[in-house]
């Protein structure tokens, strides 16, 4: 059982590093925005998995907060890409 959990943790870490590769490499600004969005969603899953793995309750609170902040950051970056003000 512990081996399966270790393999799962390694695969999720690999997902995070794939997103970081696209964040560093991406040719245009929207590529980097997509990478930030996907990294946020992957980390929400990672925190939920850590909550099960360690049995501690507060990791799922971190997941909820991370989802909220990631959504707001992505919307702000998309507005910036579109070239409009934040209050339109």
């Amino acid at each position: 059982m512990a081996t399966v959990f270790q393999v799962y943790l390694g695969l999720l870490l690999l997902c995070c590093f794939m997103c970081l590769y696209r964040l560093a490499r991406g040719p245009t600004a929207p590529d980097r925005t997509v990478a930030i969005d996907i990294l946020g969603i992957v980390i929400v899953g990672f925190c939920a998995f850590m909550a099960v793995l360690t049995g501690k309750d507060f990791y799922i609170n971190i997941a909820i907060t991370w989802a909220l902040l990631s959504f707001i950051a992505t919307i702000a970056l998309a507005k910036y890409l579109e070239g409009r003000g934040f209050d339109e």
Binding site: F49, F71, A78
Partner: protein
Amino acid sequence: MNELIGIVFFGIGIAFNLFGCLGLIRLPDVYNRLQASTKCVTFGTIFLLVGVLIYSGITAMGIKAILCLIFILLTSPTAAHAIARGAHHSRVKLWKKSVIDRYEQDKEGKE
């Protein structure tokens, strides 16, 4: 038994996450990457949260997992749509083998 079903759900979710991130790396332009990665990673994370719910049962952790699941299900497509719209408005070129661009045609027809 609940632990076993939860582990199977974790496996499905992590496989979808991995395929989505692979699409994020391998595909040629920003619209293809958005299309591949957003849907796959949202589906995979939803499977992870359902796995948390099944693994821990109806406890405080499970209820919070349902809350997080509903929130991600609502906000992730909205964010993807906003990114695609912003990329198109900031004149990011399509891939050179792309066939059609309906959004550009709509904008030209309107103006």
